[in-house]
């Protein structure tokens, strides 16, 4: 007998896709049974009440959670999101229901040993419900009470060698694509750079000193499997600057049909035989490819490394050897001024430990933003307000046409006084000698 009737949620147990309702119910049952004799530190029936309050939301069509005020662990300004139920008498198990953000490992690889340790801790001191993972990348521990926060933190740091992730006006938990670990397209070691910067900026991650949140994301190539370009204040996107490596025999194998285009990604339908002209050469956005008899040619100077041809013929075409990354800046969600995509700041930089060049640029950006950014102003908004030039100035980078989609179409150039011969002050009386009123 469930604690609460959940007729609406129950309908979400059917259908093929894994049902979160079934899963919460399974956890509720497991806690009720408690085969391992866990001394639950938060109410045993937390999962029942979670289903109960959710069912109520389904009935009312609105949330029953309230803003959480300031809860957290000592000395940190982030990592915990406070949350209280607005019907605590009906659902005491979730009266307090704070989440903790746990900094996930790079590439989201786990040993089962470690995963089980997390499970044990969270079953013991929390709801046993998680998100694997949150949108930023963290492991999300979903729902515990205030007294458990420090306890969990203590156990994590002492026994699991594991820290919290970010929330609040600080550096958010950086995250990366799988990259070189399992992907032939990766132009730098996303995990290494992500880890290095995460460690270097632990202070920024835990202690809010910024005007607002700040995100790093690391994509090994322009396919952008961690969507860095859409949702990171700095997107690190792998690229190269020499030539795409071509294996002409493999090109012929694709043309001949021995190799399947795009690694077989379209196998669910018969698209007809592969046509290199139509499927690769004509779709190249810069039109820099052609067949010279049996040879595929690329004018690499014109290639913008969009990845299309490589994606279609991974066994024939490979990323170049002189690799590094581009740094793009300023992406953010729509609020307040509308969404922004990251914009090119550094077209090419090498990604080699100890990454000093990269850190230098990051720190210059932060200095500017911390100096000039208003409260709750994302980097992208500051760039819009003070202008991209200002960012170039503070980062001491040279302007480059690759930084813009196109040159400005309004001629409203803000000249600085020192750029204009004679400066700005003029003598009105001198002027009046030649120009009467």
């Amino acid at each position: 007998m469930p604690k609460h009737e959940t007729p609406m949620l129950d309908q979400l147990e059917t259908g093929p896709w894994p049902s979160f309702v079934s899963d919460i119910k399974q956890e509720a049952a497991s806690r009720a049974k408690n085969e391992r004799n866990v001394e639950f530190q938060i109410p045993e029936d937390v999962c029942d009440d979670l289903l109960g309050v959710l069912e109520l939301s389904y009935k009312h069509g609105r949330t029953h959670w309230k803003h959480g005020g300031i809860v957290g662990v000592f000395g940190y300004g982030g990592g915990v999101i406070g949350r209280y139920c607005d019907q605590p008498e009906m659902f005491p198990g979730v009266a307090h229901f704070h989440t903790m953000r746990v900094n996930q490992p790079g590439g989201k690889f786990y040993s089962t040993e470690y995963l089980r340790q997390l499970c044990d801790l969270w079953e013991f001191r929390g709801s046993g419900i998680t998100n694997m993972h949150g949108s930023t990348g963290d492991i999300i521990f979903l729902g515990t009470t205030t007294p458990q926060l420090e306890e969990i933190f203590y156990e994590m740091t002492h026994n699991l060698n594991q820290d919290l992730g970010g929330s609040g006006s600080n550096l958010r938990t950086p995250s990366d694509c799988i990259g070189q670990a399992r992907c032939e397209y990766a132009c730098y070691d996303t995990q290494a750079l992500c880890y290095d910067l995460t460690q270097t900026y632990q202070d920024e991650l835990h202690r809010p000193a910024f005007p607002y949140k700040f995100k790093f994301k690391f994509d090994g190539c322009p396919n952008c499997c961690v969507a860095s370009i859409a949702r990171a204040d700095i997107s690190f996107i792998g690229t190269w600057r020499d030539d795409i490596r071509i294996d002409q025999e493999a090109v012929q194998a694709y043309i001949g049909g021995e190799l399947k285009p795009n690694a077989g990604a379209h196998m669910g339908r018969d698209w007809g035989p592969f046509d290199i002209q139509k499927e690769v050469i004509d779709l190249c956005p810069t039109g820099c490819m052609w067949m010279d008899g049996k040879e595929l040619k690329i004018d690499n100077k014109e290639c913008t490394r969009c990845m299309h041809c490589i994606n279609v013929m991974p066994r024939a075409l490979r990323i170049g050897n002189d690799r590094g990354l581009s740094m793009l800046v300023g992406a953010k969600a729509p609020i307040l001024d509308g969404a922004q995509m990251s914009t090119m700041l550094v077209p090419f930089i090498k990604a080699e430990e100890p990454y000093d060049d990269i850190k230098e640029i990051i720190e210059k950006i932060w200095d500017w933003w911390m100096e000039e950014g208003k409260n709750r102003e994302r980097l992208g908004e500051l760039m819009k307000r003070q202008g991209f030039q200002k960012l170039l100035e503070v980062t001491e980078l040279q302007p480059d046409p690759r930084m813009v989609q196109e040159p400005r179409s309004n001629p409203y150039i803000f000249w600085k006084e020192e750029e204009v011969e004679g400066g700005w002050s003029r003598d009105i009386n001198e002027f009046r000698k030649y120009h009467q009123r």
Partner: protein
């Protein structure tokens, strides 16, 4: 339920304190075949939906079996994942950037037993626990957010609409018949915790009522200046208000005509769903694009949001039938023109779809 201390002493919080150690290091968790071949991969190939192999220059291979995850998962569920990973994969596992689970094995003969094991496991309610799929030119997991399970500003639920939608799109999770990737995302409010603003199809929770004012408590509950500053359209002004009892309190007044219901200022009434389409993130062929609003409003219809899932299905089918190979949904819409997009998807074009976001100047 007795309180058990971890060793932490609230009176001496700094004692033995360990901080700023960061995450566990990635290479502790690499399966051996990954550790050995990192940076040496030559190419990959799909074997069947949800299964692909990477081949290294050392001759090694890694077979990945991708499994759909309701990213909201219990420790029981995670423990079952661990059990499977121990049995088939030498005790390693990973999650993808879209909340799928990837089981990796180092030889081909290990693939089918793993797949069979995964597909064989079902929840009591009948749903798959570990459906294999989500690769290539098909539909993968829906990126989503908290919804009514945890957040205080959602205009819709997250896990529920996602479950309902994935049920409807399940065949395409298990297939690769589409012209290209098709990414569906959900965010439960305008904060858009995710890449909903750049998705092929986005489900967005949206409020349509200006905030409700609780003058009696407003001054106590939130910081009035912050609420004012947070409003993107400057719809909120400070105001003195007289309560029914006669008491005068500091509060705010909202210019309803200026409100675009962003929810930034205050807990609001949840209302329904906006469908967006045509965004993308990758740089392949065309630059990343923002999603566009294609349906201004659909009501919340728990538990299965039929209008929402039906609309999405219509868009997916129109795209599947009409787009060219490699063409993302937004590229298709731009090629045929948005006029045709609405025709082919059988959606109505309303005045709400025309941009009227006023410059922040006003």
């Amino acid at each position: 339920m007795a309180f058990i201390s971890s060793g932490y002493n609230p009176k001496e919080p700094m004692k033995d304190r360990i901080t700023d150690i960061g995450p566990r290091k990635y290479d502790e968790f690499y399966p051996p075949v990954i550790a050995k071949n990192k940076g040496k991969w030559l190419y990959h190939e799909y074997l069947q939906p949800g299964v692909y192999v990477h081949v290294s220059e050392t001759g090694d291979e890694v077979y990945t079996v991708r499994v759909g995850g309701a990213r909201l998962m219990s420790v029981s569920h995670i423990r079952e994942i661990c059990e499977i990973a121990d049995k088939h994969c030498g005790g390693y596992i990973r999650f993808t950037t879209r909340n799928n689970i990837e089981f990796m094995v180092d030889s081909k003969d290990k693939v089918q037993p793993l797949v069979d094991d995964l597909m064989g496991r079902k929840f009591s309610g009948g749903s798959y626990k570990f459906p294999v799929g989500g690769t290539g030119a098909g539909i993968t997991n829906i990126i989503h957010t908290q919804g009514w399970i945890h957040c205080h500003t959602p205009a819709t639920d997250a896990s529920g609409p996602v479950k309902a939608t994935m049920d409807v799109l399940f065949d395409d999770f298990r297939d690769m018949r589409l012209p290209a990737h098709l990414r569906v995302s959900l965010a439960c409010c305008l904060n858009m915790c995710g890449a909903v603003h750049c998705s092929d199809i986005a489900i967005l929770g949206y409020h349509r009522k200006p905030p409700m004012l609780d003058h009696e408590y407003l001054d106590k509950m939130c910081e009035i200046p912050l609420a004012i500053a947070a409003c993107p359209t400057a719809a909120i002004k400070p105001a003195k208000v007289e309560l029914p009892g006669g008491e005068k309190v500091n509060s705010v007044a909202v210019n309803n005509a200026r409100c675009m219901f962003c929810g930034n200022c205050y807990t609001m009434w949840g209302d329904g769903i906006v469908i967006m389409a045509g965004g993308k993130v990758s740089n392949r062929i065309s630059a990343p694009k923002f999603s566009k609003v294609v349906v201004a409003f659909l009501p919340n219809e728990p538990p299965r949001w039929p209008k929402t899932t039906e609309t999405i299905k219509k868009i997916v089918e129109a795209y599947a039938n009409d787009a060219r190979k490699y063409e993302r949904l937004g590229e298709w819409a731009e090629r045929i023109g948005w006029e045709r997009f609405f025709e082919k998807c059988e959606l109505e074009f309303t005045h709400h779809l025309i941009d009227d976001f006023r410059d922040p100047a006003f």
